[in-house]
């Protein structure tokens, strides 16, 4: 039925099957939209957020997906700037994932802020000293860049590419790609850092506050590093899931391993720096305001286990797997490591956001605990379903995986 749209030389499931798949995804999507409408219509009392937790699951998800989306800019950086040609086989997919991640981040922010219709004040009345301003500008700009990077992929659709104009346009885009990628890299580095700056500059919150370099707290740099360490792994993870669902190999193992190796070394260096940061913070930054770092972990569920899990289980273990050749060449281990890496980023963002707020700063204040409610879950998961749809559509109709034909001869 839609065969004219499907890239040449590849096999896709029947349209009926595809429609059912999309239909299935629509159900949780509608659930998420309903939750979002509740939040807009009845205000944010529809969440478990409160004055103690002005930031919650949404902000964690935002920080998380943007870190995961780092795969796009970083793979682009490796492919177009560092010229690791091999990565051209996965860069398209990385871009798709990037677009989804960034769109999600913006979408979630649109629900999270109390007055979405005034959201543009952040640009119009910007306070340049605020990390959030930096984040907003960079994310928006970078999202545009990602769209520009995504457009040529769309143009490569067989039906669209048939138009000479679009074909021509697509070509021009490809030519400009290194420049676009460069802009993207610059913006991306910056806002990944700014996101790290968001908790890091809170000098009223000793759990999050970090000293740093010039105007940037150490978290600025740690966030950049952790994002580029996990972004590629997320690309690998989604590729693996796509491969499992389509029951096809789409990217050569060597490509994956290259990416995994790079991610592994980045993760390893991140973990080393993170440990140094933690030690410095625990022994110098926090004691300077009279706090023994152990007291930050004095209340469950935010005990010392979170630090061990974050750095040890979700940091050191995947780093070891990824930097060892045996580790990354074993697909199961590779996927496990990728998963741990991505989980690690979420945990880190959760800790930097939620635990920061859970720890009472005034000594006579009460410790508070937070968990998201269904509205928050539904809206936060909304991008997952929409993302799955976008990936499904992109996969079905666009030549995302250049190696697909080669790896799956008809």
């Amino acid at each position: 039925m839609d065969s004219a749209l499907i890239p040449e030389g590849v096999k896709r499931c029947s349209f009926k099957k595809f429609a059912i798949w999309i239909g299935v995804l629509t159900i949780p999507t509608l659930w998420g939209i309903y939750a979002a409408l509740l939040c807009w219509g009845k205000a944010l009392n529809q969440t478990n957020l409160n004055d103690n937790f002005p930031f919650g699951f949404w902000i964690v998800a935002d920080l998380g997906v943007i870190a995961l989306g780092a795969g796009a800019f970083f793979t682009g950086f490796l492919r177009y700037i560092l010229k690791i040609e091999e990565l051209k086989n996965i860069v398209n997919f990385a871009v798709v994932i990037g677009v989804i991640c960034y769109a999600s981040a913006l979408g979630i922010l649109g629900i999270d802020v109390g007055q979405p219709l005034r959201g543009w004040f952040i640009f119009w009345h910007a306070n340049v000293h605020s990390m959030l301003t930096e984040v907003a500008f960079c994310i928006t700009c970078y999202f545009m860049v990602l769209c520009i990077e995504y457009v040529p992929l769309v143009l490569e659709n067989r039906r669209i590419d048939a138009y000479r104009f679009f074909h021509f346009l697509s070509h021009r885009f490809h030519q400009a790609m290194p420049a676009i990628a460069a802009i993207g890299v610059f913006l991306s580095f910056f806002h990944q850092g700014s996101l790290g700056g968001v908790p890091g500059v809170l000098y009223g919150r000793p759990f999050a506050y970090r000293s740093g370099f010039l105007v940037w707290p150490w978290t600025f740099f740690l966030f950049i590093l952790s994002a580029i360490a996990c972004g590629p792994c997320f690309t690998l993870l989604i590729t693996w899931i796509t491969e499992k669902i389509t029951r096809k190999q789409l990217v050569k193992k060597s490509v994956k391993e290259t990416l995994a190796k790079i991610a592994g070394w980045l993760l390893a260096s991140y973990i080393v720096l993170k440990i140094i940061d933690t030690i410095y913070w625990a022994s110098s930054t926090a004691p300077r305001v009279g706090i023994n770092f152990k007291s930050f972990y004095a209340n469950q569920p935010y005990g010392i286990w979170v630090l061990i899990t974050e750095v040890g289980i979700l940091g050191i273990i995947p780093a070891i797997i990824l930097i060892t050749k045996q580790g990354r060449s074993n697909s199961a281990l590779l996927i496990l490591a990728s998963f741990l890496n991505c989980a690690g980023i979420f945990m880190n963002r959760w800790i930097m956001t939620v635990q920061t707020l859970a720890v009472p700063v005034m000594p006579f204040d009460k410790f508070a605990s937070y968990h998201p409610n269904w509205q928050e879950w539904a809206t936060t998961l909304l991008p997952v379903w929409i993302g799955a749809m976008v990936i499904s559509l992109s996969y079905r109709y666009l030549p995302i995986f250049p190696q697909e034909r080669e790896l799956n001869p008809a």
Partner: protein, 260 residues
């Protein structure tokens, strides 16, 4: 046009709260609510979603019966000074839309509800929980909107609000002074609602820079201290207590740090 700015006097308004006198009666909380059109709901028991610009905290010394001691700590917005331009109040630094700033004439940390778009970053930044979000549309039972104060604009859902040191009373006092051809205002012309109401007279308000004002002398008392002073937020709200455990109880100390 001539430069009006140069003629303007700058103040540094602040508060000194005597915790020995404070009885925790809550009159300041309600005076503030009544003055500033703070909304209320049928169920206000979830204090994490209850707007009280001025909140009275209760601190105990942690000892068992019968050695237990309790101290009440009224907590308005601290109107932090921070440390100069590079590190203003925690909340001012982070607000992306410039909805909060430091008023140069009074030193008061403002909050503009119509500018705020509800990102709540300032709340995350404030260690004093002095900032409150409007989780609901404010609603007054029919007829009750009659007592609303026209000098303070009611807030709408989705924005952050906080104590303004009753800034509108400063505006009111200045307006009167202008009408009389004065530029400066007297100490008694501008008092916050909480200071005015406090039955114990525990709250003193005035210009911290003016040696003629009561707060000037009080803040220099050996019993004066501020909450979380070590963070460097540099609050303009001082407290007085003759009790050592109270003075120590409002900040963090490492075990090895000697009693002062």
């Amino acid at each position: 046009m001539k430069d009006i700015h140069s003629e303007q006097k700058t103040y540094k308004f602040g508060m000194v709260i005597d915790l020995d006198k404070c009885t925790g009666c809550g009159a300041c909380m309600v005076a503030c609510m009544a003055e500033n059109n703070v909304s209320f709901r049928a169920d206000e028991t979830d204090k994490l979603r209850s707007i009280t610009w001025m909140r009275v905290y209760k601190m105990t010394n942690g000892l068992p019966f019968p050695d237990t001691e309790v101290c009440y700590i009224p907590r308005p917005c601290m109107h932090c000074e921070g440390s100069g331009h590079h590190r203003p109040a925690p909340c001012i630094a982070v607000c992306p839309a410039t909805a909060t700033d430091r008023d140069h004439e009074t030193g008061i940390v403002s909050q503009i509800y119509t500018r705020c778009f509800g990102c709540r970053y300032c709340m995350a930044a404030c260690p004093y929980h002095a900032r409150y979000f409007n989780w609901w549309d404010p609603k007054w039972p029919k007829g009750m909107e009659k007592y609303l104060n026209p000098d303070v604009s009611p807030r709408m859902r989705g924005v952050v609000e906080k104590c303004s040191f009753c800034y509108h009373r400063f505006q009111r006092a200045k307006n009167k002074a202008y009408a009389e051809g004065r530029r400066e205002i007297r100490e008694d012309e501008y008092q916050t609602a909480c200071a005015q109401a406090c039955p114990a007279g525990a709250i003193t308000f005035g210009d911290l820079n003016n040696p003629q004002h009561a707060v000037y002398k009080l803040k220099n008392s050996p019993n004066a201290f501020r909450i979380l002073e070590k963070l460097g937020t540099n609050p303009k709200v001082y407290y007085l207590s003759t009790k050592e455990w109270v003075r120590r109880g409002v900040d963090h100390y490492l075990e090895e740090e000697a009693q002062d």
